[in-house]
């Protein structure tokens, strides 16, 4: 007898990954296990008037640990006990980071926006005393000062750092290991020591007095390692075949670099520069040691006091009056917005999506 092959199609499973389905019992257990400790904790907070932090650690965490290990037993059997505890601990500690971040961001945004107004952005502080109201004066001069000081260090540092990254990746120089070690060492340089270095080199020696360009110099050792390390990574990501192909076709090292490697690594290099700028734009200590505060706009970076956003913030915090601290919050918000713009720009530049779009 001939066997007939059954050609009726098998019904396909509705879900492509049936093993991820969660049964109703499991769902219910999870919901109950995560609700009960919260409710008990709330009861302690409201009825027993317990301190939030003490309650969180003494009541909520142990209860949640017990309830999630019970849920673990119900769902997975005995080996679920430690799993439940571990998930609880991870989420608990992880959410702490989130809470801290939100607390910082919320404080800056709330208090900063209370200070922020159009004239706060563009006016300077010529007629401002520590107790002057917020209707006059602002961070205009500090924003300009930051742009000048950070701009000058960027102009000096970026070519230097990129050329160093090129030396580390494109040449077969003998001292690559040494340079890499030194960059590593420099990236650990405390910012205040960088300020002391420039101070002892230029200001104690009497070569110059406090000025914007001295501050820019103090930022260079902080920016250089960041930019060259990220740039080195970016250049390293360019496949060796591309380079060898260009060289095999007879290109000189320079044209292979400028026409093949550089375009391929462009977005990575832009990211390197942006990260470097973001690294130094909020640096306070080196600028405190090398520039002096001014309350009027100073566009001359070569001499005279110049305010930058971090030193402005520092100065007004140290004055300690309510209104001066208000001003400092405003400056913090402006600084955070600047850093945020740089941060997002670096993200956009380094994301593979935008690189594809450009093609």
């Amino acid at each position: 007898m001939e066997k007939v092959v059954d050609l009726t199609p098998v019904e396909r499973p509705k879900k492509s990954t049936p093993w991820t389905a969660v049964s109703a019992k499991t769902k219910l257990t999870l919901i109950v296990a995560s609700l009960i400790p919260g409710i008990v904790f709330l009861y302690f907070l409201i009825a027993a008037d317990m301190d939030f932090m003490a309650g969180l650690i003494l009541v909520f965490l142990p209860l949640q640990l017990v309830s999630s290990s019970l849920a673990g037993i119900l769902i997975l059997g005995r080996r679920g006990i430690l799993d439940g505890m571990m998930i609880t601990t991870t989420l608990f500690l992880g959410s702490f980071v989130f809470v801290l971040l939100m607390s910082v961001m919320w404080a800056v945004i709330e208090r900063g926006f209370a200070t922020l107004s159009p004239q706060f952005i563009y006016q300077n502080d010529v007629y401002v005393t520590p107790t002057t109201g917020l209707e006059i004066g602002g961070v205009g001069h500090a924003v300009l000062g930051t742009l000048l000081v950070v701009g000058l260090s960027t102009i000096v540092t970026v070519p230097l750092a990129l050329a160093t990254a090129v030396y580390l990746t494109e040449t077969r120089g003998k001292s690559r290991g040494l340079i890499r070690t030194l960059l590593q060492a420099m990236s650990g340089l405390p910012s205040v020591v960088s300020g002391l270095f420039i101070y002892s080199m230029l200001i104690i020696s009497g070569i110059t007095s406090y000025a914007g360009w001295v501050g820019s110099l103090a930022l260079i050792p902080l920016m250089l390692p960041t930019v060259s390390r990220v740039a080195e990574e970016a250049l390293r990501l360019v496949p060796a075949e591309l380079r060898n192909g260009a060289l095999g076709l007879g290109a000189s090292a320079w044209s292979a670099f400028s026409m093949v490697t550089l375009p391929a690594a462009k977005s990575g290099l832009v990211t390197a520069v942006l990260l470097g700028v973001a690294r130094i734009v909020g640096e306070t200590a080196p600028l405190l040691l090398t520039t002096s505060l001014a309350n009027k706009t100073n566009l001359n970076i070569l001499e005279g006091g110049i305010s930058t956003l971090p030193t402005y913030l520092y100065g007004y915090v140290s004055l300690g009056y309510d209104t001066s601290i208000q001003r400092a919050w405003g400056a913090a918000l402006v600084l955070l917005i600047l850093v945020g713009i740089l941060f997002i720009a670096a993200r956009v530049a380094s994301s593979p999506k935008s690189a594809k779009k450009r093609k």
């Binding site: 571990m86 801290l100 070519p159 002892s200 913030l313």
Partner: protein, 325 residues
Amino acid sequence: MSELIEVVPPKRKLKVKASSTSDRVFYGISTAAAYSTIFLVVAILFFLSVRAWPTFERFGVINFVFGSGWDNTLENPSFAIGPMLYGSFLIAGIGVLFAVPMAISIAYFIEFMAAKPIAKATAFLVDLLAAIPSVVIGIWGLTIFSSVGAHWGEMLHNALGFLPMFENDAGNFLRTPFIAGIIVSVMIVPIIASITREIFSQIDKDLISASLALGGNRESTFRKVILPTASGGIIGGVLLALGRALGETVAIFFVLNLVFNEVNWFRIVLPEGGAIASLILAKFADATADEISALLAAGVVLFVFTLIINSIASYIVVKAQPWRK
């Protein structure tokens, strides 16, 4: 034997040296830039040491580093940074103690627990925390966190005051090493978290699957497979963060009461503490010439310590990733 005869004369000589002018300029510029790095580091060490030398000569290195007292009003001013140096390490230690569990948790959450979009968003938030300038965290610590932290310190004192660690006879819980330590931990969490995440993401997925196939659960996989594989990288990350914590200046200066005369060994909720970087900032504004030299010497000591810690850290991080060339 006769000499080898070149049958086809080569058009280009095969040598490593650059042949065209543009190449020579290209190599020249990059080499010059790289060597300027050496120059910069040598200059930093040279100028700091030259200015700091009188202090080291006068007080002796050991006395200056481990002695205590900082007074420029005396006939014979005395400068020593023992309490500051120890205080730096105490604060950094508290910071690391708080930061490590949080950082490992969030790295584990991102790599092994969360769904992809949530993991991406969390990683973004952690990077965002890393981007916040330390002076902004400083003003947050001063105006918002200090009172909260003082309250926590007071609770610790009330509950566990019989332990010498939580002694406090000042009746005031503001400006303590405890608060400064937590502020520092906010700054170093993203550093440790990103390095840990990097290491976690490079762990061979087959190892984890093997552990699960052998009947391991989430917890035993973490304890017996993930953690041992990643421990080197985590320790390296912690040391890098420690270096950063030691060099933290402004934020600590805002929230810590500096005491120069005696070392606060372990009483973390007492408003007495020290930090070298903050010392430099605190004493710089109205320093005498002798004092400037002493501050520079303090800077040298700080640099040496961070240099040692960073070198160990980067060595460990590289060793921990043998798969990376």
